[in-house]
Symmetry: C2
């Protein structure tokens, strides 16, 4: 029985809702917003800044260079985004140490890649299902839903690449990838619970 | 309940064995070798040629051009590989028409992409698990197992791209992608059966 589940997801795929259902079914702690709040508490950054930073599409992060030159605990000279990423890493490792949890987003799949007791999930869906979902959830905007999705995908892809060196949504980074548009939210949750056992 | 399951898989991932287990559990007909034999019977090509053609890494296929210029049933002027692909397409559509089947490989996921009654699966695994599997199954060879896997992956990737225009192993082409190295053969089969229901 895996005690830690990470969920990476495309915007509008319902990965957050699936994570909540999985946590409910297993009696695990769910870290979505709460993870952001924990990072805010420790870092002193606002939850808004943390959420935006998670989709901050910058040029290549200088994090690895900073770590190599300044030592592991020296954070002066780092960008705020890089400092935030380090704090977030520590918070995710602490949460994982307690076990019985579902963690959504924030590169948790990468941060916990060497934890044997982990199941790594990727949730995706076709454009149409996702567009329908974000309009139902966040309403219409001036920009068409498809454009909003493409922008968000691109930002998450760049953020993930910056901090992990890996390709976002590449199956080999995950144990199980599910199309929520085709399978539905409830079936996805059931499959993840079954895979966990 | 989906009545058609297609399984695409990395060489050495155990996708073939998983497909057999799924067919067994659901009482479905399994098309692995039998699909090749059906194509051989209709085309007059040998099963060996058909198997090799499925991994034939050529320059861009002229199939679409031939179809556009010569009409759908005119196959003169086509390469043997393209003619074979067309016959294979027809055989897979016939099999799908009968339902209650599991089809492994041969671009069946693409050929049946518009069939609502289909579940499309991709099975993959880490290099180490796959290397172990092919050595156990096919024995050692002069070329190291890793090299054999990389060659086969590359050939399948090119063949798939040629005939479908899509990227092999890209999650959006499938409903469910499973890491058999991490989940194990039996759990993969169970999850596919559960997703099918």
């Amino acid at each position: 029985m895996k005690s830690i589940i990470t969920i990476s997801r495309e915007f509008g795929s319902g990965g957050h809702s699936i994570g909540m259902r999985v946590a409910e079914k297993l009696g695990y702690h769910f870290y979505g917003r709460e993870l952001v709040e924990k990072v805010a508490e420790i870092s002193g950054f606002s939850t808004e800044f943390i959420k935006e930073s998670g989709e901050y599409a910058s040029a290549k992060s200088s994090l690895l260079f900073s770590l190599a030159t300044a030592g592991q605990y020296e954070t002066s000279g780092m960008s705020m985004h890089d400092r935030l990423y380090l704090i977030q890493t520590k918070v995710i490792e602490d949460i994982a140490g307690e076990g019985n949890c579902v963690i959504v987003g924030r590169c948790a799949d990468y941060i916990l890649r060497d934890y044997a007791d982990c199941l790594h999930i990727f949730v995706y869906a076709d454009m149409e299902s996702r567009a329908k979902r974000i309009v139902a959830r966040y309403g219409e905007q001036d920009r068409p839903a498809k454009k909003r999705l493409e922008d968000k995908d691109q930002k998450r892809r760049v953020y993930y690449k910056n901090y992990t060196g890996r390709s976002w949504g590449e199956p080999h980074n995950y144990d199980l990838c599910l199309d929520s548009g085709k399978l539905g939210i409830e079936t996805c949750a059931e499959l993840i619970v079954a895979a966990c056992k």
